[in-house]
């Protein structure tokens, strides 16, 4: 049986990420949706892939400062006390949570990869839609990009 699976809307993505942020970072400012900047700064990017009726990569981009802030807030540690590996681990866990929550709304069977974190991610080759949602976390940019890598059959 074939199925058409819609890529989540920007509003859905923004709402979901904001809810996750408010749970993890309840002592910090909330997220505010903004227009994606024309010139993207270099970002720490974490990524998961989803396979199944809907195939896509889901990426979270954070500035170095935002990645540091997120990791230290997640672990409730003073800024500057974590290693780069711990910061990368935390950023990977953030996309794991975001991707897992998106996956939960998808038809089964779907599978999600383990997260990867890099500064210069490989460029996806989009077949279908691409969604990009930019949010401000105080002065920091939080960028979510969903690239559908294959259409549902």
């Amino acid at each position: 049986m074939s199925a058409t699976v819609e890529i989540p809307s920007n509003a859905d993505i923004a709402e979901l990420v904001s809810e996750i942020w408010s749970t993890l970072f309840y002592e910090q400012e909330g997220l505010i949706e903004v227009e994606p900047p024309a010139d993207l700064p270099e970002l720490v990017e974490s990524r998961v892939s989803i396979t199944g009726p809907w195939q896509a990569s889901i990426r979270l981009g954070l500035s170095d400062a935002a990645a540091e802030l997120a990791a230290h807030a997640m672990l409730d540690e003073p800024l500057g006390s974590l290693t780069p590996a711990e910061v990368a681990d935390a950023v990977g866990e953030l996309i794991n949570i975001i991707g897992g929550n998106i996956k939960s709304s998808l038809p089964e069977p779907s599978a999600m990869s383990l997260p990867t974190v890099s500064r210069q991610p490989a460029q996806a080759q989009p077949v279908g839609d691409v969604r990009q949602v930019a949010l401000h976390w105080g002065e920091h940019l939080v960028l979510i990009t969903i690239t559908q890598t294959a259409k549902a059959s």
Binding site: L24, L75, D89, E93, I97, G100, S104, E108, L114
Partner: protein, 119 residues
């Protein structure tokens, strides 16, 4: 109470352990596992009172680790702490013998609610 916390993310293990301490459980003896394979080995070695495990892990997933434990006749109380909480996964977890599936992100309150299933 001896608890094995299994997650391939060291950061998430720390968050789970910190949240466990916030639930008010006392005399916690926490053992950490990096993946499902290590989880199965540590259960055999330490005989914990509870296992809290991620689902999606390298080497052996949480659900496969649970299946292996039950196949060995080990009935250790087992709960999932995972970013994926679809109804199908919850049903699969219950069918495999898990007591609960706690979705990430979680709070001390939601973890406390989940732990109520342990009795």
């Amino acid at each position: 109470m001896r608890i094995i916390v299994a997650d391939d993310s060291a950061v998430m293990r720390k968050i789970v352990i910190r949240t466990l301490r916030q639930t008010g459980l006392s005399n916690l003896d926490i053992i950490e596992a990096n993946d499902g394979r290590e989880l199965v080995d540590l259960v055999a070695e330490h005989g914990p009172d509870l296992v809290l495990s991620d689902w999606n892990m390298p080497n052996l997933t949480g659900i496969d680790a649970l299946a292996e434990l039950r196949a060995r006749g080990d009935s250790v109380p087992f709960g999932f702490v995972t970013s994926e909480g679809s109804e199908a996964m919850r049903e699969r977890a219950t069918a495999a013998g898990a007591l609960f599936l706690l979705s990430k992100p979680f709070t001390a309150e939601t973890m406390e609610d989940a732990l109520a299933a342990v009795g």
